[in-house]
């Protein structure tokens, strides 16, 4: 258990800046996820924490110890690798025992701890196997056991599931989360898969272009995205042009009392597809739009509808009831957009949340 703090971390490759001043405060025992598209700097940050490359500036703290200048082998942060990195010339047992041997743990204790850890990750019977006799999922369990058995203060995982197939991914991520809770170990987890991030994390940090865009619980990230990048990267979103004039707001062909104070001019409104309702409702609480169905797809459990209304293009996720399932391309329908479900952003490149 340890609190991890990262202060003002910067890292460039040549003249390309991969991390632009990252500061994070990760509570002890948290499952903390770095989420962002490929190339946003997640691996760079994680490797700096592990000590595989030196940051240009900034410091890294585990509790009250600064580890940012220590060599990698003295940092005591466990790591699980995207490519497993299970040593191919050592058996499963020897892989898991590797870190303990470095720490000069007595042989009897090594045997006991490795045995127990292999049972925890359900690899007990495979202890004598060589890595090439294991499936990808089993190899990653070895990687996990190997990192956990040394009881590190912090556990780092760089897209540990991205080389596995979809079903195994879901199964193993649940196991990882259970183990993390059981050991109470502060974990920094990297993924580009937003569903995975939302499912397992206590806290999520959304990264983009080397900047931490927003840190929060999965629900905060989803429901109150701090800027337009987060709003569109985490879950899908409808983006609607809007304009403030005096105390009125023009949005989706309607004029409503402006729910925030803002200088006159354009803003951006967003609303999640699943918030859209079929049919018109009370104009005091929602905006009603009449549009033509562009496409209607049953995607399992829900129906996704694409809708054109003038120059407005909307996506709606609807419960698959009889009326919705009956819709086809070209049909005219009313949809209502509840006012309470809108979020408003500055109309800039990556506009931040107004309200």
């Amino acid at each position: 258990m340890a609190r991890v703090r990262i202060l003002d971390l910067k890292k460039s490759y040549g003249d390309f800046t991969a991390l632009k001043s990252i500061s994070l405060d990760i509570p002890s025992g948290a499952f903390f996820t770095l989420l962002g598209p490929s190339g946003c700097g997640k691996t760079t940050l994680l490797r700096a924490i592990a000590g595989f490359h030196a940051q240009d500036a900034g410091s890294i703290w585990v509790d009250d110890v600064s580890i940012g200048e220590k060599p990698a082998h003295l940092r005591d942060v466990g790591m699980v690798f995207q490519d497993y990195a299970v040593f191919p010339h050592l058996s499963v047992f020897d892989n898991v025992a590797f870190g303990l041997r470095q720490r000069k743990v007595p042989t009897a204790e090594i045997r006991a701890r490795v045995g127990k850890m292999l049972d925890v990750v359900q690899l007990g019977p495979l202890a004598k196997r060589m890595p090439h006799q294991l499936s990808g999922g089993q190899q990653q369990r070895v990687g996990l056991a190997r990192a956990l058995v040394i009881r590190p203060k912090v556990l780092l995982m760089d897209e540990p599931l991205s080389n596995l197939d979809a079903k195994l991914r879901v199964e193993l991520r649940r196991d990882i989360r259970d183990l993390q809770r059981e050991f109470g170990i502060t974990t920094i987890y990297v993924t580009h898969d937003q569903e995975e991030a939302l499912a397992v994390s206590d806290q999520v940090c959304v990264m983009h272009q080397g900047i931490a865009q927003q840190v929060g619980t999965p629900w905060e990230i989803y429901s109150r995205a701090a800027n337009l990048f987060v709003a569109s990267f985490v879950g899908s979103n409808n983006r609607i042009k809007a304009a403030v004039s005096g105390d009125r707001l023009e949005v989706a062909g309607a004029s409503i009392p402006c729910p925030f104070s803002h200088a006159a001019g354009p803003v951006v409104a967003t609303i999640r597809p699943e918030k859209l309702r079929l049919g018109a409702t009370d104009p005091a609480t929602s905006i009603c739009v009449r549009g033509r169905v562009r496409h209607a797809m049953f995607i399992g459990r829900e129906l996704e509808i694409g809708l054109d209304a003038g120059d407005l293009s909307l996506t709606a996720l609807l419960a698959a009831d009889a009326r919705a399932v009956g819709l086809g391309p070209g049909d005219e329908v009313d949809v209502s957009l509840p006012l309470a479900d809108f979020a408003f952003y500055e109309d800039t490149e990556n506009g931040s949340l107004i309200a």
Partner: protein, 559 residues
């Protein structure tokens, strides 16, 4: 099964298709030039030279008499010492060059390749000029009152082998180190493993296949080498020098003892190769991930040590070439150096030995032409025909790697010594022996390029109406040309430097440069030897330059 036809792949064209005929010719050629001489050697070892009856005495004698046992021990010592020395220099050098931003990397690999292609006996005699009883450094040290230990005998041989064969270990290991997934080393660091222990516990085991391949190559070539122990060994005989001595003293009679010694050499080489295969068989590291290692910058004391080490290796490896070149420019009066610079050694070559230089080039070019042509066909058969016979052909081509030149030469004299094929004393026997000894190298470089050409290209030509032979010549061969040229250059280098087999086969009219260098060194004609050696080195250097130009994986072409 329909007998013979089942052995060959029976295509739509019947048994006598173009490729089946080529295949049969390849097998026949290997049978005559490789299997026949070796089986002659094998048989003669069991014959009593006086009565002609079957006997085991030859082997018993070789395996019990102290004279032979001492040679056996020396052979193993210099082979093992050479391989070990090659690893001690080659592995750290490979690690530094692969993992750190070492400036002058090209200098290192160029010198390594040049050391690799220069004949070992030149190294031996250069080190005598430097550290021998009358060498520069020895005299210098003596003037200061320091007695330098003798370089003659096994220490000198091991020194020469180490500096000659470390490039194998270096080049192979460097290639492997560059492609090890870096996550392994990072994972080890992450688990608390310090850098040095990381190298021994993770990195070295992962590149073990490459290191051991290089070491085995060094071992096999060390025990087969004749020139080095002959030049610098003095009283330390090895199996190849006593095989040669025995053969020349048994001349005219049946060379039974020489042959028994030869078989022993083959057995040792094969044992080494199989041992390595056995260990490698248990290791399967092929990973699907390509997370390649980064090169770290060098600084501080460690940086100085690394550069110091690299500079020392380059200096030692290049020293023989520098010494030879320098010596060739010293004026001589007969065998005596006058102390001034001059081209008299080259003038002597020009006046007295033009035919020797001519022979060397002529024989080498002839052998290379045959190798290029044959290896194009053989590699096609080996790469594209997946029958067990093609596999057999591939394995048979391993044989020349483990048969020392002295042994091959003895086999040839036993096989081609009576009508209808009496080749003793002819140029052809030298060309043929070089051809069969170097064919595998040619086949390897053409096969590697052929593996990169998709069969569909040729199939397209056939599909458009071209007969198979024409499709091969018109479509595949042109694409293979760079590989064939690289193969030809490599064959040329080894052919023109060949000593161990030609020394048993030459006559006055067919002497070659290495033979003359060897004789000149024994006669103390160091100036003449240096001039001839420089000509050899320059020819080899030109070929290296061409290979560097044509080959994508420059140094890789040499291992």
């Amino acid at each position: 099964m329909t007998g013979l036809s089942a052995l060959f792949r029976k295509g739509p064209g019947g048994l006598f298709t173009f490729w089946n005929v080529v295949f049969a010719l390849c097998l026949a050629m290997i049978a005559v030039l490789l299997l026949r001489p070796i089986s002659e050697v094998f048989v003669v070892g069991f014959i009593d030279p006086d009565s002609g009856a079957f006997t085991l005495t030859n082997y018993v004698r070789v395996l019990t008499r102290p004279y032979y046992l001492a040679a056996l021990r020396n052979t193993l010592v210099v082979g093992g010492g050479g391989a070990l020395g090659a690893c001690i220099i080659g592995v750290p050098l490979a690690y530094f060059v692969a993992r750190f931003r070492v400036k002058g990397r090209n200098v290192i690999s160029t010198v390594a390749v040049l050391a690799l292609v220069s004949p070992p006996f030149i190294g031996a005699y250069s080190w005598i000029l430097v550290l021998g009883s009358n060498g520069w450094i020895t005299r210098l040290l003596r003037a200061w009152g320091i007695a330098f230990p003798s370089i003659y005998g096994t220490p000198g041989i091991i020194l020469v082998f180490t500096l000659k064969f470390f490039p194998f270990v270096y080049l192979m290991t460097e290639g492997a180190l560059r492609s090890v997934n870096r996550s392994y080393e990072e994972a080890a660091a992450n688990l608390g493993c310090a850098p040095l222990s990381r190298f021994f516990r993770i990195t070295l085991p992962l590149v073990f296949p490459a290191v051991s391949s290089g070491a085995i190559l060094a071992f096999v070539l060390s025990i087969a080498d004749f020139g080095t122990p002959a030049v610098i060994g003095r009283n330390a005989n090895t199996l190849s020098t006593i095989a040669y001595n025995q053969y020349t003293s048994e001349m005219g009679g049946t060379p039974s003892i020489a042959v028994a010694i030869s078989m022993l050499m083959i057995v040792i080489s094969m044992a080494a190769v199989f041992l390595q295969r056995y260990f490698l068989g248990k290791r399967r590291y092929a990973g699907a991930f390509t997370n390649l290692p980064e090169q770290k910058p060098l600084s501080g004391l460690f940086g100085i040590l690394v550069y110091g080490f690299c500079a020392l290796v380059v200096l030692f490896a290049a020293l023989p070439m520098i010494v030879v070149f320098y010596t060739s420019l010293l004026a001589t009066n007969g065998p005596v150096f006058t102390g001034a610079f001059g081209l008299s050694s080259y003038q002597r070559v020009w006046r007295e030995l033009p035919n020797v230089v001519g022979n060397s080039f002529l024989f080498s070019l002839a052998a290379v032409a045959m190798i290029s042509l044959t290896s194009a066909f053989i590699s096609y058969v080996v790469v594209r025909r997946e029958t067990w016979l093609a596999g057999l052909l591939d394995s048979l081509l391993m044989v020349p790697y483990v048969v020392p030149g002295v042994v091959m030469a003895i086999g040839f004299t036993l096989t081609f010594n009576k009508p209808p094929v009496d080749l003793i004393g002819t140029a052809l026997i030298i060309i043929l022996v070089v051809f069969i000894r170097r064919l595998p190298y040619g086949v390897r470089s053409t096969s590697s390029i052929l593996r990169q050409i998709k069969p569909s290209i040729e199939e397209a030509a056939i599909n458009l109406g071209s007969p198979p032979a024409k499709a091969f010549l018109k479509v595949t061969v042109p694409i293979m040309i760079p590989g064939i040229i690289v193969g030809a250059m490599m064959s040329f280098i080894t052919a023109i430097n060949e000593l161990s087999s030609t020394l048993l086969l030459y006559t006055g009219a067919t002497a070659t440069m290495p033979v003359k260098i060897y004789a000149a060194v024994l006669d103390g004609e160091f100036g003449l030897a240096a001039a001839l050696s420089t000509i050899l080195l320059v020819s080899s250097g030109i070929c290296v330059f061409v290979v560097f130009r044509l080959s994508e994986n420059r140094e890789g072409a040499f291992v």
